[in-house]
Amino acid sequence: MTIFTDIKAILLGLWTTWKHMLRRPVTIQYPEEKRQPSPRYRARIVLTRDPDGGERCVACYLCSAACPVDCISMQSGERENGRRFAVWFRINFSRCIFCGLCAEACPTLAIQMTPDYEICKRDIMDLLYEKEDLLIDGCGKDESYNFYQHAGIGVAQRRGEGAEEKAPVDVRGLVP
């Protein structure tokens, strides 16, 4: 009879919730207790430098294109030495959803997520991070990558001296 199964179901439910009532809560009492997030945790974003200390970001606009909430904006420019760089670079953390798509899109490993999740400000304008707030002195998670050494267009080194390059061709040579 369904009436008995119904009653049984209700009683079973009551028994289950009763048991949980007596359990130890799983709540972590933030901010007194804090959790140690894993290094891969996706929180506050930084811009890193290459091993030689140069800015990794080449202002390629890929992160801003990948960002689903359009919270990255920048202006690219060229330095005298030919490096492409971000004249200004702004992340609006009041909009960021920490999805990590920007870090995934970045071809130079410049933009990286850190485990620092405590980004709370009284004034929302303080959540607008400019390049100087984002740029750190270090390589972040990758110690060795230097985009310009692999780019193949002779910016960080002379043409033909990059990691996977032959010396420039002599176009006037006649040898086949």
């Binding site: 209700i10 439910g13 009551l14 289950t16 919730t17 009763w18 949980h20 009532m21 007596l22 359990r23 130890r24 809560p25 799983v26 709540t27 009492q29």
Partner: protein, 330 residues
């Protein structure tokens, strides 16, 4: 001092004490509900304001009082203002007839632990619970919002349906106690609680009062998953607070009535009667909260089926059986 003046003074004092007690209890019931639900869900619940979060109700009160008091411009102004009061006041008034302790003798006068011992007390309760329906109906109507209206239509149908089974389940009690006076119903149970004679009536009454105070699994008028907040969708600030607190007062009052009708009222050994009464009442409240953490919401057709096809016929049969039994017993 004339006896009349003394009577007035004593009654006023009783009203004051009862009001204070219910309002405080209701406020802490909200707090208790949040804590208990927290435990059920392996959380801690509110524990930040004051020791163990005990000042949380105060914080809630301040919050509600300082919120914007919004009224939908297209709604009916006066009905909109009236509705929350209509929801809360009948619930409080019902408590006037509940005996919450054994009569005590003070300075030679016997004082009933009851604001007023009406000889039609039970009927008054039924009447007041019918009036409470207006709070829901007017609130939803005056808001001029589709969610609110849908909520109040559901509420009306639900409250009217379950009032019937609630009333019918109380008839055997009247027959047993041979009185409508609540103090006499309690006294009739000094030997054996009515729950022993009338387990079925108790069950019907319990389910009906769950539906009367619109609690899960009968919270269709508010159904936040479907209707935003049902009949009080458009209310904010303390007006919403009145609806909210009215619901908890209702829980206490109906718990108190269930105690009075079935669990022997304030009767009990060793401990003082008031304590017994309070414990019994609060156990109902706890059960309501526990059930809220457990049961899912009924569907509208299930609700109607349960009311009209199960509870009402059962209550009628119960009356007949009780009458037959009483006749046989002589």
């Amino acid at each position: 001092m004339t006896p009349d003046l003394i009577l007035i003074a004593v009654t006023a004092a009783k009203i004051a004490i009862v009001l204070f007690a219910i309002l405080t209890l209701a406020a802490y019931l909200v707090f208790a509900e949040r804590r208990v639900l927290g435990w059920i869900q392996d959380r801690k619940g509110p524990n930040r304001v004051g020791p163990f979060g005990l000042l949380q109700p105060l914080a809630d009160l301040i919050k509600l009082l300082t919120k914007e008091d919004f009224r939908p411009p297209a709604g009916d102004k006066w009905l909109f203002y009236l509705a929350p009061a209509m929801a809360a006041i009948p619930a409080i008034m019902t408590f006037a007839i509940i005996p919450f302790g054994a009569p005590v003798t003070l300075f030679g006068t016997e004082i009933a632990m009851q604001v007023i011992d009406l000889n039609v007390g039970l009927l008054l309760f039924m009447a007041l619970s019918s009036i409470a329906v207006y709070g829901v109906a007017l609130g939803g109507w005056a808001s001029n919002s589709k969610y609110a209206l849908l909520g109040s239509i559901r509420g009306l149908a639900q409250l009217i349906s379950y009032e019937l089974s609630m009333g019918l389940s109380l008839v055997p009690i009247i027959m047993l106690a041979r009185s409508l006076k609540l103090s006499e119903i309690v006294n009739a149970q000094s030997g054996c609680w009515f729950i022993v004679y009338q387990p079925l009536a108790f069950l019907i009454f319990l389910i009906s009062i769950l539906a009367e105070c619109k609690r899960i699994p009968f919270d269709l008028p508010e159904a936040e998953g479907e209707l935003v907040a049902g009949f009080h969708t458009e209310y904010s600030g303390m007006r919403f607070g009145l609806f909210f607190v009215g619901e908890y007062i209702n829980i206490i009052v109906l718990g108190g009535l269930a105690t009075t009708f079935f669990l022997g009222g304030w009767h009990g050994p060793v401990l003082p009667p008031v304590v017994w009464f309070t414990m019994k009442t609060l156990s109902f409240a706890f059960f309501f909260i526990w059930l809220r953490g457990t049961a899912p919401r009924l569907r509208y057709d299930q609700l109607m089926q349960l009311g009209w096809k199960v509870l009402t016929p059962l209550a009628l049969v119960n009356i007949l059986v009780t009458a037959w039994w009483l006749v046989l017993k002589g």
